[in-house]
Symmetry: C2
Subunit: 349 residues, 2 copies
């Protein structure tokens, strides 16, 4: 019996996307990549040869329609970009260099039934491959299936490498260390809110293909790989985590793993330009999530540059021996900072 | 806003399962494992240190309810076992040793809503951990989410290691090589058919917890890791693939990657005892799928043992320069062997 949606067809599609991505990535990175990726798509496993003296880092992240994105809100390029960005950001948080990506993708039957609908898949891979090329990460394998529901289901796996024993962890911070964030906060939640408001006013396709992703923190977040690698190389950070759930939640993770508390000064938080004019910029910066910036700690006397790899670095507080996380507002008032990073889409979403 | 199904809760569950699995695995394997798995669940990435001179193999496989299993047919222990077996079998096919597993798991809200329903998850992990312990593979990370539908969604990632340049591939076979299979064929499809027939006769829970999985080729398939590793170590095989889709389809993959054809002798096929009494044992052996045996090639003069690691090895045909796959029946009649491995469950399944 023929499969209603041949896995082979999708695998061929992915293989073509990978080949195209690797061709366009140019000669500069090919030699380096070839030495890590020995065998890509087409066998039972991919084969990687990590550089000698390096460890292998692994992260996996679901991107499920209705939980992490909505097909009537996110353009396909954004979905492809965001699927990969989630994994790359985890590598960034540990200072790793990407070795290879693996994508498991399940599509509803209607998305592959005819030529026209396959455009969705092509646009998904356009977004995926643009980001993959920007960071020279080959798509080395994965799995494909017809989705059992009408949801697009993706799971991304990223492998990276870091010098043995040097990867940045959540657990390395010490009491008294200063706390820093990269870039600015709240932009992703602000852009999402504005997309949702526009969606209510319109039933036509919402968002055109984005050429310059930098001002679109929700649709095209930029994982901070260069910053993470610089922090590792220059031994600047004692601990690091990426801001996926939101500052309030991710800071709690870092504190928990380091057995510490923290004090954050609200007035120092770098607010994203899209968040600044909203009703409650501070709430977006603290709890909005999906900014994919890095949060890291460094000894209080360490000289931390004002920018790393072109990304602004801002000191926002300090770690404390007392295991409580406190927000100090502009009037000097102290209150507990509750972990309140949110999920964007409920089950009906 | 609190998450309706906290990811943290599931991560804690997985972490506990892992800790328990590693404890019970005993001291014998701990030193070896500790040297590979530097950091497990609880940071942005896991960290692995593959042995020097080894390559890293990676495979990912979806197990989606309604496509790969049915909750009203498969007991939770079987689902957990099968999720992991899919990935381990891919490592077996390349002769690799498992380094670590990563599990992304999305559950419908009702499965985690109350204590009683969480029993499903505990039984899932019991099945998963039993197989993980049997092959000393630690669960090193993953992701969790609430499912956007009423389907359980799993994606398994397996990392393994093999001596550099030595992994068994689909592409190494030469014309004239003999073709072998491990174990027996058609058992998984036969057991599945019998489970489905029993399900029609009954509305109560179907299948009790299975203690000795060996005679249950569908519910508890045994990935042939020891055989694959022996083939690699003893340099016996020129090419290898696992039988997940079915002999007719997987042989076509091996032939395609090796640029060859093949002749298979029907009378030589080792039929599983569960398949033998069915209406068409040959069809189950050729197209049933999910037997998770190995199919490999070796030079015609190579001395292949009758059993490896306690698993029977059977010669079933030979590879040919002519790129056609032919089945020769008991009367010497030749006909093309069409790749017809099937999917077990349709979208309504």
């Amino acid at each position: 019996m023929a499969k209603p949606f041949g896995e082979l067809a999708l695998i061929d599609e992915i293989r073509a996307a990978q080949a195209s991505g690797m061709r366009r990535a140019g000669k500069r990175t090919r030699a380096k990549r070839a030495s890590s990726l020995v065998l890509g798509i087409g066998d039972d496993c991919a084969i990687l040869r990590p550089p000698r003296g390096y460890e292998v880092l692994v992260t996996t992240d679901f991107s499920l329609e209705g939980r992490h994105f909505l097909r009537n809100l996110h353009p396909p390029e954004s979905i492809g970009h965001r699927v990969l960005a989630r994994g790359l950001s985890d590598l960034a948080a540990m200072g790793a260099k990407p070795l290879a990506a693996f994508l498991s993708l399940a599509l509803p039957g209607d998305l592959v039934a005819d030529r026209k609908d396959r455009a969705w898949l092509a646009r998904f891979f356009a977004g995926f491959n643009d980001l993959a090329r920007a960071h020279s990460v080959p798509l080395a394998g994965g799995d494909s299936s017809e989705s059992p529901s009408d949801h697009v289901l993706a799971d991304i796996v990223l492998l990276g490498s870091a010098p043995a024993g040097r990867a940045l962890r959540r657990s390395g911070a010490r009491a008294g260390d200063a706390i820093y964030v990269t870039g600015s906060l709240g932009g992703s939640a602000a852009e999402l809110t504005s997309l949702q408001q526009r969606a209510k006013l319109s039933t036509v396709r919402l968002v055109p293909r984005q050429i310059d992703p930098s001002p679109r923190p929700h649709l095209y977040p930029q994982p901070r790989l260069a910053v993470g690698q610089a922090l590792l190389r220059r031994r600047l950070a004692t601990a690091c985590i990426d801001l996926s759930d939101g500052l309030s939640t991710d800071l709690a993770h870092l504190c928990r793993e380091s057995h510490l508390g923290a004090e954050i000064h609200a007035e120092t938080l770098p607010i994203h330009p899209l968040a600044a004019p909203t009703q409650d910029p501070l709430a977006l910066a603290l709890n909005g999530g999906e900014d994919y910036e890095l949060l890291f700690s460094a000894p209080p006397a360490a000289r931390i540059p004002r920018a790393i790899a072109g990304v602004r670095i801002t000191r926002i507080g300090a770690l404390t021996r007392r295991k409580v996380i406190t927000l100090i507002d502009t009037h000097g008032q102290r209150k507990p900072l509750i972990a309140a990073g949110w999920e964007h889409f409920n089950r009906q979403g």
